[in-house]
């Protein structure tokens, strides 16, 4: 009997020690990475300025406002809707730290789902952080989860019912920001964040909203722009413009029967032109091999190369992978094309955005060359 108690106490002590080590690691994810204030940033606001119901809570997040001297249109860029899709977040950071606006206004939310940056998805073995070398040192960015932290919103229902359409999805989608639009002021945290973003678009009369994402290489909608029907004329110009730069991009219409997503609901419930961009990210895919920081940054993965040869992928996949510079470059090139196409389509509301690193510059200099010291 004594021996059994001793064994039990030993295992309990080991479990407590493991809990303490893991707990410290989990808590460290709550510390947000600094983002440098770039030369074009006019003010840094909080999403709760547009929906006070978020103030002081885990869903509140910075909104970087870049205003031009000349009047014009306005654009909203969402990064970090899914923090396990790092190219969207990092493109938004580069935009904040480098872009200058000559006409109109640019709103950037790098961490759209701030709560989802504070944890990782169980059983996905994701890296917690990405380290990027710069000429002056190292910048560190969190690699989070696809969904809101369950410590901030729990429990999940068995079935998630989208509020305005009644569409049913798997219960964990209740914490997916890109299934909760247009959001509800009295809904769950994720729905309230969606509502805050929708309110920002309404109150600032945002002309075009771009949601930056990544997709696993086996996912059919990839290297693509998904556009609401009203955004199609602008989006088709963007795809042609990117083709001229040798950047392959498909154009997909927003499905009518898939509800809760930015490109559908923001287009239906506000006046904005709602679009979403996808780049290929192996670190979120089901076919990936060893899961680590290197995979998220380089995209190099032998299993994906094999899957490509088997014809199981929807994007080209070679030994060079799809490095983060290419994926961020695709997003930034897309944003530049959207600003230009919007200006052509609505000349009375010009959008002049300069200073963004180009696709080629990112490929040559790497991300670090354009990251400032915070």
């Amino acid at each position: 009997m004594k021996r059994r108690y001793a064994t039990a106490i030993l295992f309990l002590a080991l479990a407590l020690a493991a809990g303490a080590v893991a707990g410290a690691s989990f808590l460290s994810m709550r510390e947000p990475e600094p983002i440098a204030r770039g030369p074009g940033v006019s003010e840094i606001r909080k999403l709760s300025d547009w929906f006070p119901g978020l103030a002081g809570g885990p869903g509140d997040t910075e909104v970087y406002v870049l205003r031009g001297e000349a009047p014009g249109g306005s654009m909203l860029v969402l990064g970090g809707t899914h923090p396990n899709e790092p190219a969207g977040f990092l493109a938004a950071v580069l935009l904040v730290e480098n872009a200058r606006v000559s006409s109109g206004a640019l709103y950037v939310i790098p961490r759209a789902n701030a709560s989802a940056f504070t944890h990782n998805d169980p059983q996905e073995a994701a890296p917690q952080r990405l380290h990027i070398r710069t000429p002056w040192g190292e910048r560190v960015f969190r690699y989070g989860s696809r969904a809101t932290n369950p410590l901030h919103q729990w429990p999940d229902p068995d079935v998630y019912i989208h509020a305005s359409s009644g569409q049913r999805l798997s219960g964990n989608e209740t914490r997916n920001l890109n299934r909760g639009y247009p959001g509800r002021p009295d809904g769950k945290l994720t729905e309230r964040v969606c509502y805050g973003i929708t309110q920002l678009i309404r109150k600032e009369a945002v002309g075009i909203a771009i949601d930056l994402h990544e997709a696993s290489p086996e996912y059919p909608v990839n290297m693509a722009v998904v556009a609401h029907p009203r955004a199609m004329p602008v989006a088709s110009q963007v795809v042609m413009g990117l083709e001229m730069e040798d950047i392959a991009m498909r154009l997909e219409p927003s499905p009518v029967n898939l509800r809760g997503l930015t490109h559908r609901e923001l287009g239906d419930h506000t006046e904005t032109l709602a679009v979403l961009m996808e780049s290929p990210n192996a670190s979120q895919g089901r076919l990936r091999g060893r899961t680590d920081e290197a995979l998220a940054l380089t995209g190099k993965d032998g299993w994906y190369v094999k899957a490509q040869k088997l014809g199981r992928l929807f994007v080209p996949y070679g030994e060079k992978g799809h490095p983060i510079e290419e994926r961020v470059g695709r997003h930034l090139a897309g944003i530049a094309e959207f600003a230009a196409a919007f200006t052509r389509e609505y000349p009375d509301r010009p959008l002049g955005i300069e200073g963004m690193p180009s696709f080629e510059e990112l490929g040559e200099g790497g991300l670090g060359a354009f990251l400032r010291r915070p």
């Binding site: 493991a18 809990g19 080590v21 893991a22 690691s25 989990f26 990782n120 169980p122 059983q123 996905e124 073995a125 917690q128 429990p155 999940d156 229902p157 068995d158 079935v159 019912i161 569409q167 049913r168 999805l169 798997s170 219960g171 989608e173 086996e218 996912y219 059919p220 909608v221 499905p255 029967n257 898939l258 509800r259 089901r286 076919l287 990936r288 091999g289 060893r290 899961t291 680590d292 993965d301 032998g302 299993w303 094999k306 899957a307 088997l310 199981r312």
Partner: protein, 422 residues
């Protein structure tokens, strides 16, 4: 890429040695296999990953724990034996009909919650005494309850594996009701008759009727069933009015457990709850171990090895790969099989009707709940019937499971024709 195979062999080898040679608990064997896999994969001792992986089953663990407390309360209150008396009195002359009805009752909580464990631990435990009184041997009764559990999990309105598979390709969970009914209901009737009819037909039911102990039923009447009715009602309301109720399974079972203390025979609720946790702990431990195991498989690339190997077979063998790998991967988690393998297989079958195919894949994934070491459905079914182990129950499930796989594959092959029927 060869290193992933080495890691897999190390993980399987350490698990087998700890579990079968050293006879250590399955949960401890999975922990050791996970640590060994991480070391072999050059990841050191990744404590954060081990803890994080185990959190994948927090909700499931809470549901199972509270369901076990509830069922122990139901049993102690005398409700189970009372229900047996009532069912046998009403239907003893029509054993085939009684068997089918009992199977549908056993499926019901799974249909509402999407969980085979919830089905087996609630309605499964309710029908178990009736099946035994009808003359079914314990293993056949347990096998029928386990099969009803996974068929309930797949039958509409709630099929979580289908939602997971559909979510992987942005296909909303719409239009699944009819194909899921076509998939599951014929199998439910066939299972009821396969496991039960030959035994029930031979039983002298008049003798059984005379031997029934009706003391609890006669003394407490319908009051005995109020906790079960409360739990079923809350499950239905949870789904019908999610914005009003939305209690969640753990709270529903906790409320039901509290109600059992006032429904019938007096019992010590704390002692009953402690016994329930004693019964549940080995399974809960397995879930924690499985969570670590999956996390390390993902971390080291073993998951990629398994998925790409399954997709590497020639097109002609794709169906064989589905039939073998999805239930096998279900040994770690049926939901995991739906997500990790179900989505790539559905993408490989884009020329088929997507709704019918996703429905059929969800059924094959659900068979993972029969796969050791987790085998949640089979373990709990053996427990509610009162068997010591679940090995014989699993043997009874082999042939019916093969029939289920064949049925589901036929749905995939003829998905377009089936879709054209409705």
């Amino acid at each position: 890429m060869g290193s992933e195979l080495l890691v897999l062999l190390v993980m399987v080898g350490v698990f087998a040695a700890a579990c079968f040679a050293l006879k250590w608990p399955v949960s401890v064997a999975m922990l050791l296999a996970s640590v060994a896999g991480a070391l072999a994969g050059g990841q050191g001792l990744p404590i954060r990953h081990l803890v994080e992986g185990s959190f994948g089953y927090v909700d499931t663990i809470l549901t199972i724990a509270t369901a076990m407390v509830f069922m122990n309360g139901v049993r102690a209150s005398g409700a189970l034996e009372a229900l047996s008396v009532a069912a046998i009195r009403r239907f003893h002359r029509r054993p085939a009909l009684l068997l089918v009805l009992l199977t549908l009752v056993a499926m019901f909580p799974g249909m509402i919650t999407g969980s085979s464990s919830a089905s087996v631990l609630t309605a499964g435990a309710v029908v178990a005494p009736v099946l035994l009184l009808l003359g079914l041997p314990g293993e056949d009764a347990a096998a029928l309850i386990a099969m009803a559990g996974i068929l309930g999990m797949i039958a509409p309105p709630v099929n979580i594996p289908a939602m997971i598979i559909g979510g992987g390709i942005d296909m909303p969970y719409v239009g699944f009701e009819l194909p899921l009914l076509l998939l599951t209901m014929p199998l439910a009737v066939a299972s009821a008759l396969w496991f039960g009819y030959r035994h029930a037909r031979r039983t002298d039911r008049e003798k059984v009727l005379a031997a029934l102990d009706a003391e609890a039923l006669d003394r407490y009447g319908m009051r005995l069933f109020l906790p079960v009715i409360l739990v079923v009602a809350l499950m239905v309301l949870d789904k019908a009015l999610p914005r009003v109720f939305n209690l969640g399974m753990p709270l529903i079972f906790a409320l039901g457990a509290a109600a059992t203390a006032f429904a019938g025979r007096r019992f010590d609720p704390f002692k009953a709850a402690k016994e329930a946790m004693d019964q549940a702990l080995p399974v809960l431990g397995i879930l924690v171990g499985v969570g670590m195991f999956i996390q390390v498989m993902t971390l080291t690339g073993v998951r990629g090895l398994i998925v790409v190997s399954a997709l590497s077979v020639p097109p002609a063998l794709l169906y064989a790969a589905i039939a073998v790998t999805m239930p096998l991967f279900g040994a770690v988690s049926a939901f995991g099989a739906a997500s990790v393998l179900g989505v790539p297989f559905l993408l490989a079958l884009l020329d088929k009707d997507q709704i019918v195919t996703a429905s059929a894949l969800s059924l094959i994934a659900a068979l993972g709940d029969f796969m050791p070491p987790t085998a949640l459905s089979a373990i709990f079914a053996a427990q509610v019937v009162g068997l010591d182990g679940y090995g014989k129950t699993l043997k009874k499930l082999v042939l019916p499971s093969l029939a289920v796989v064949a049925w589901a594959l036929a749905f995939i092959v003829f998905s377009k024709q089936i879709r054209a029927m409705y």
